[in-house]
C-alpha cells in the first residue's frame, strides 16, 4: 500500500481519536471520563479471567447459534428454493415470521425454558440468524440460471453433484449476503440475550459495570464490543473475498460490456 493510501485510511481515525483524547482530558463529567482513564482501565478490566469467563462464552454461543442457523438455513432454503410449490406455500408464512424483530423472540423463548441457561441464548441467536440466511438461500437457488441447470442435466450430473457443484455454488453470492446480515443480527442478539437474563458474558459484564456505575470499565466493555463487531465483520469479508473472487470478476466483466 502506498504511503498516500495508508495516510488516507488512518488519517481521520487518528485525528478523531486524538480529538477525543484532548477534549475529554480535562473532563470531570461522570458519563464521559477522559480517554486516558479508559485506556488505562483496559488491561485492569480485561484480564485473563473475564476474557475466559465472559468474552469466550459469549463468542462460543454466537458461533454455535450462527452455525446452526447457517446449516439449517441453507438446507431448508435449498429445499424450498428448488420447488415452486413449496416456495408458494411457505413464502407468506416466512415473510411474517421474519418480520418479527428478533429481540422480541426473547420473551417468547423465555416462556419456554426461562432465560438463565446457555441453551436459550443459543436458540435466540440461531432463530434470529436463521431468517436472512433462509430467505436469501431461497432466492439464490430460485434464480439460478436455467441454462446452467440444463447443462448439468445434459451432462447427466447426479443429484448430489448438481447440488454441490451447481446449485450451492451458483447461489453462493446470495447466500453470502444473507450470511452477512445474519452475522450482524447474531452479534446484536448475543448482547441482548445477555442483557435479558445474564449469567456471564460480554454483554452481561457491561451491564454489571453500568449498574455498579463503574463508568470507565463500562466504556472499555463498549469499546471491546465494538472492536469485536469490527473484527468479526472483517473476518467475514476476508472469507467472502476469497471464496467469491469469481463472482466479482464475473460482475466486472459484465459491467464492462
Amino acid at each position: 500500500m502506498t504511503p498516500r493510501r495508508v495516510l488516507a485510511a488512518l488519517g481521520l481515525p487518528v485525528v478523531l481519536i486524538a480529538l477525543w483524547w484532548l477534549v475529554s482530558a480535562s473532563s470531570t463529567s461522570f458519563f464521559w471520563p477522559p480517554l486516558s482513564t479508559i485506556v488505562r482501565a483496559f488491561p485492569q478490566t480485561w484480564t485473563a479471567d473475564p476474557i475466559l469467563h465472559d468474552v469466550l462464552p459469549s463468542l462460543a454461543r454466537l458461533t454455535t447459534g450462527y452455525l446452526v442457523a447457517l446449516v439449517a438455513g441453507v438446507a431448508a432454503g435449498t429445499a424450498i428454493g428448488s420447488s415452486p410449490t413449496l416456495r408458494a406455500l411457505c413464502e407468506p408464512a416466512l415473510e411474517f415470521l421474519r418480520a418479527i424483530p428478533p429481540p422480541v423472540l426473547i420473551p417468547v423463548i423465555a416462556l419456554f425454558a426461562g432465560y438463565t441457561g446457555a441453551t436459550s441464548k443459543v436458540v435466540t441467536i440461531a432463530l434470529g440468524c436463521l431468517w436472512p440466511i433462509l430467505l436469501n438461500t431461497v432466492e439464490g437457488v430460485r434464480s439460478l440460471d436455467e441454462v446452467l441447470r440444463d447443462t448439468a442435466r445434459s451432462y447427466r450430473l447426479g443429484r448430489v453433484a448438481t447440488l454441490r457443484q451447481v446449485v450451492l455454488r451458483g447461489a453462493s453470492p446470495r447466500i453470502a449476503t444473507g450470511a452477512r446480515q445474519a452475522l450482524s443480527i447474531g452479534v446484536i442478539l448475543m448482547v441482548i440475550s445477555e442483557l435479558f437474563g445474564a449469567d456471564r458474558g460480554l454483554g452481561a459484564a457491561i451491564v454489571q459495570f453500568q449498574r455498579g456505575f463503574a463508568i470507565p470499565q463500562m466504556w472499555t466493555g463498549i469499546i471491546l464490543l465494538g472492536l469485536l463487531g469490527v473484527a468479526l465483520s472483517g473476518l467475514f469479508r476476508l472469507v467472502e473475498h476469497r471464496s467469491l473472487a469469481w463472482y466479482r470478476g464475473l460482475r466486472q466483466s459484465e459491467r464492462g460490456m
Binding site: D145, R156, S172
Partner: protein
Amino acid sequence: MIALDVAGLAKTYPGPGGVEAVRDLTFQVGRGELVCVVGPSGAGKTTLLRCVAGLLDLSGGRISLDGTPVTGPPAGMAVVFQEYGRSLFPWLTVRKNVELPLKEKGLAKAARTAKVDAALESVGLLESAGAHPWQLSGGMQQRVAIARAVAYEPSVLLMDEPFAAVDAQTRADLEDLVRELWQRLAVTILFVTHDIDESVYLGQRVLVLSNRPTVILEDVPVDLPEHRDQLATRSSPEFARIRTHVYELVQLAKKGGRPDPE
C-alpha cells in the same frame, strides 16, 4: 449404422387448449454424419433439440440413440447451447469446466487430464486453461463449451444455434472448427441453426422444418466436396443452387407450406 433414430416425434405444450408445437418429425442420422436443421422462427427447432437431448418429455413418438430409447438425458450425448456465457460455470476455470462432465463419468485423474488437454488443444485454447470463462471473449467461451462437449467423447453432438450470438467473423472461424473436429474425431453431429448459408456450408444434409405444427418439409442432400472453404465453397455455383433451394423452402415454410404427400 444409425446413430440417432427419430420416429414420429410430437410435442404439445400444456396450457389452455394445448399448443401443438411439433406434429411429426421422422428422420435418421447415420453414424459420423453432420446433419443441419433449419426452419422459420418458431418452427420448433429448439423443441426438437431439447427432446432429442432428453431435456424435454415427448408427447408422442420415439427417439433412439444407438438403438436405446431416450427417456432422459442419455449417456453418449453432449449439447452445446447458444448461450455460452450461461452454460459455462463462472466459478470454475476453463480447465475445470471441461473436466467436470468427465469427473461425473468416473474417469481417473490422469485420463481426465489427458482428454481435457487434447480437447482444449483441438479448439486452440490450451493456454487459457487456467482462466475463468468470463475473462474470455464470446467466441472463446463458445470454444470452451465445444471443447467440453468434445472431451466428453459423445456418440452424438447436439448444437443448438451455437453461433447465433457471436459476431460474423468469429462465426466463420467456429464453423470451420466444427467441420475440422467433425472430420478428425468422426463424431456424429446434429446442428440446429436459423442461418441458411451456415446450414448448407456445414452439413451433409439439411432438414428443412415447416412452421407450427412442425413436420419435416424436405431432407435436402448437400452434394458439396468434403473439403470446404469459406471463400471458395460459398462462391461455388453448386452452393448457390442448394442454398437457393433451401431458401425457397424456408420461405414456403413461413407461408405455411406442407410437404407433398408421398
